[in-house]
């Protein structure tokens, strides 16, 4: 039990040196770290947001809305498809009723003449054939179309629903990233969680309010035709014909114009905008936003402006009109400008919003945790102080309780903290304040294994065994208790890691790592020390 072979000793020492090698980068400056030779480890423990300051936001993606939007788009495609098309030699199919049920996610088309059913069904199939998002498996239709009598029902398949939901989460993550980290040089972390959530973590002292303001805007841009035949006042009183909407102006300085009645169906949408930037108003005074359409948008916009010269259209952003110019001439080059009454800041924020694209659905902040940098610094200091003082307290207590063996236990304890730091660096894990608490607690509990052993040796000595014999038996007999005791703590840590949120996970990690390393240092390392002493000195009596 007390004898170690040379290879065993080399293994033990090697392991501790390895731990040290992984732990050391944490204490070096970034510059020295980068100058280390390539074979040395460089990863460090990351400080959690509660220690370095920053904001954690849990966002909910409204995936139901995404499905609704898709179905509404299908509905308006169908309406368009039933219109006559002179060039294609197609007749009108008369619609009796076309409606979307949000609860069941089904679009129902009722025809005026049952005789049109086959023709209508073919046209519906045509517009619902394409995998709108792409990436859906070949031959997999996103929509199920069923027809009977004069009714056609269009529903989204479950696979498509799942696909579009997860796609919307992925797209949202991209959009959020473009908005809060346009240059791609910040240490932000944006990750999906579960089926419809996103976790955003931004270290540093950015104002969380500003952060939320830029994330939570949908950024939905669209160009709509005005319906001059409807009086806005009548519309406000509820006399709104189907397919029209009443839209207020954005609250820019000096606007305050009355709301306008627009056609619901957009002529061009923001996803056809390729780029947008802010610049000084070319007519002098204020700022404007210059934008470029992609080829599809350019074609559509050219067609639309050519056919509607003289009429007014509105540029709508997130349900508010930001500009409503009159079409002077056909715009065919595929670019344009939005001249509202923007300030420089408004213009650049709006341009960023347009450029980053629209969120597929509104994001709701479900949870926010922000820590100021001062509190973070205080916490690091407090945690470090508690660790050092707790450490010293335990070290002294062990020495006065067990003398020489207490020193062995203390050396094991130091090795243990080094190993914990090494493993945490190796895993690149995040250290939180509860994580520090976990280390402090491990320091207190790690000596337990040694206490078990030493108490056992004491007993055996009292039974009249020789020191070597007593130590042999002590280590042997204490093992099952040490194992059971540590497995139970490890299990508790495991559950915490599985179910815990944020900082609690940090605690669970350090606790679990500490349990494993402490068994090694307390059981193996101290045995090496004790064995070395006992076998070389062979004392007749031993103070313990």
């Amino acid at each position: 039990m007390l004898q170690f072979s040379k290879t065993q000793i080399a293994g033990i020492v090697g392991l501790i040196i390895l731990g040290l090698a992984f732990a050391i980068p944490n204490f070096l400056s970034e510059e020295t770290r980068n100058n280390l030779p390539g074979f040395l480890p460089k990863t460090t423990i990351n400080l959690g947001l509660d220690l370095q300051g920053g904001s954690y936001l849990l966002l909910g993606v409204d995936t139901d809305k995404v499905i609704d939007d898709r179905m509404r788009a299908v509905m308006s495609d169908i309406r368009r498809e039933m219109r006559p098309n002179r060039a294609g030699g197609r007749e009108r199919v008369s619609i009796d009723n076309l409606a979307y049920n949000e609860a069941t996610n089904v679009v129902t088309l009722r025809l005026r003449n049952e005789a049109d059913l086959n023709e209508a069904r073919d046209r519906v199939r045509d517009v619902t054939r394409g995998g709108l998002g792409g990436g859906l498996g070949l031959g997999l239709r996103p929509y199920a179309v069923s027809a009977s009598g004069a009714r056609i029902e269009i529903a989204m398949t479950q696979e498509a629903e799942r696909f579009y939901s997860s796609e919307s989460v992925r797209d949202s993550i991209e959009v959020v990233r473009r908005r809060i980290d346009p240059a791609g040089n910040k240490e932000v972390s944006i990750q999906p969680q579960g089926a419809d959530r996103i976790v955003v973590q931004v270290p540093g002292d950015d104002d969380p309010e500003a952060l939320k303001a830029i994330i939570n805007r949908t950024g939905q841009l669209s160009f709509h035709r005005q319906d001059p035949s409807v009086n806005p006042q009548d519309a406000a009183a509820g006399l709104l014909p189907p397919g029209r909407m009443l839209v207020p102006f954005a609250e820019f300085e000096g606007s305050g114009a009355p709301p306008m009645v627009l056609f619901e169906d957009a002529e061009v949408t923001g996803d056809m905008v390729e780029n947008a930037s802010a610049g000084p108003n070319s007519d002098g005074g204020g700022f404007q936003i210059n934008f470029t359409f992609d080829s599809r948008g350019a074609r559509r916009f050219a067609d639309y402006t050519r056919n509607n010269i003289g009429s007014i259209f509105a540029i709508v952003l997130d349900g508010e009109i930001i500009s409503a110019p009159r079409i002077q001439s056909a715009i065919t080059q595929g670019n344009g400008r939005i001249t509202g009454n923007f300030s420089a800041l408004e213009a650049s924020e709006t341009a960023l919003l347009i450029r980053s694209g629209a969120l597929p659905a509104e994001l709701t902040t479900l949870e926010q945790r922000s820590v100021g940098p001062d509190l973070g610094r205080d916490s690091v200091e407090a945690g470090a102080k508690a660790l050092i003082i707790g450490f010293i307290g335990v070290i002294i207590y062990m020495v006065i309780s067990y003398g020489r063996f207490g020193v062995y236990a203390d050396m094991a304890l130091i090795a243990n903290v080094i190993l914990i730091a090494g493993v945490l660096s190796l895993l690149g894990s995040t250290l939180t304040l509860p994580g520090i608490a976990g280390i402090v607690l491990t320091v207190g509990m790690a000596v337990d294994a040694n206490v078990l052993i030493f108490e056992r040796i004491r007993e055996e000595l009292a039974n009249g065994k020789t020191p070597i014999n007593a130590a042999e038996v002590g280590y042997q007999k204490a093992w099952s208790a040490i194992l059971d005791a540590n497995v139970t703590t490890f299990l508790a840590a495991l559950i915490m890691f599985q179910l815990g949120a944020g900082p609690v996970r940090g605690f669970a990690i350090t606790l679990a790592v500490g349990v494993v390393t402490s068994v090694f240092t307390a059981y193996v390392l101290t045995r090496l020390f004790a064995g070395g002493y006992l076998l070389s000195k062979r004392p007749k009596t031993m103070a313990l």
């Binding site: 939320k212 922000s370 945690g383 309780s401 509990m445 208790a481 540590n486 139970t488 815990g500």
Partner: protein, 337 residues
Amino acid sequence: MFLKLVPDSTNIQFTRMRMAAMALSAALIVGSFIALFSLGLNFGVDFRGGVTIEVADSEPIDIGEVRTVVSGLGLGDVKVQSIQDFAGTEEAVVVFIEQQEAGEAGESDGEAAPDGDAPEAEGDANELVQQEAATQVQEALKTLLGDDIEFRKIDVVGPTVSGELIQKGALAVVLAIAMMLIYIWLRFEWQFSLGAIVALVHDVIITLGMFAVTRLEFNLAIIAAILTIVGYSMNDTVVVYDRVRENLRKYKRKELAEVLDLSINDTLSRTVMTSVTTLLALAALAVFGGEVLRGFTLAMIWGIVIGTYSSIFVASPFLLATGVKRDWSKQSATATP
């Protein structure tokens, strides 16, 4: 020559005290239940939802003023507390606002234009009002105390998340206890397993009772503390049980009560020693670890004391009530003379 808190050989008859211990435990548990049902736990923002804002200023902050201003916002129940370090110097002021209900007050004047999604819009609105309330309080504090104040901490938890956190927390504690049950069952016998679980449940209930009585904030960190207590208490119990098993093999003729007493006495020195080192570390955390960890640390300290008590006075005597297999030397029980 060395410090020994427990003399080398003790012979305390712990099992004799089991009636007194049972009375004490029963009283503590009944008391805990009464406290839990009458007072309830003082749930923090994690579990109750709502807003916590911690604000610090270079000059001392008048708590009364803060309370008046924030209460004036019409956001329901408002709590304002001062945080002090151990020397009694004020570090910051914490404002707590209860979870907001959408649509009740005229506060939320429709920032997001609802477009028809009635059921979801309502859920979202409930999340949105928490955010709006947080913004309002921050604005109000800036107006009152000046723009140079520091928001040390802002926690905003909506109803969805707080509900989930409660569920997950409760699930974690139940799961932890269940896993311990299975592990002990595998390593020992079912009687041991049951005794250990009784002790664990005992510890958890009394810890919850302590939180109900002291009105300390019950949050996520406390769940972590309870799980750690579960691990620690289990640890303590296992060490005693391990010795019980060993002594049962060694002294086949001794009365069970005697074996139990002997085992507890054998391990008593270790039990005290480990509790002291752990408490030393925790004391350092409580004094120097800062305010964020204080509740966690206090829960742990209480749990260590209760856990140590329960392994000696609850888990072990429990074996007397259920009885245990005496002959561990053979797999099947054959009569030995």
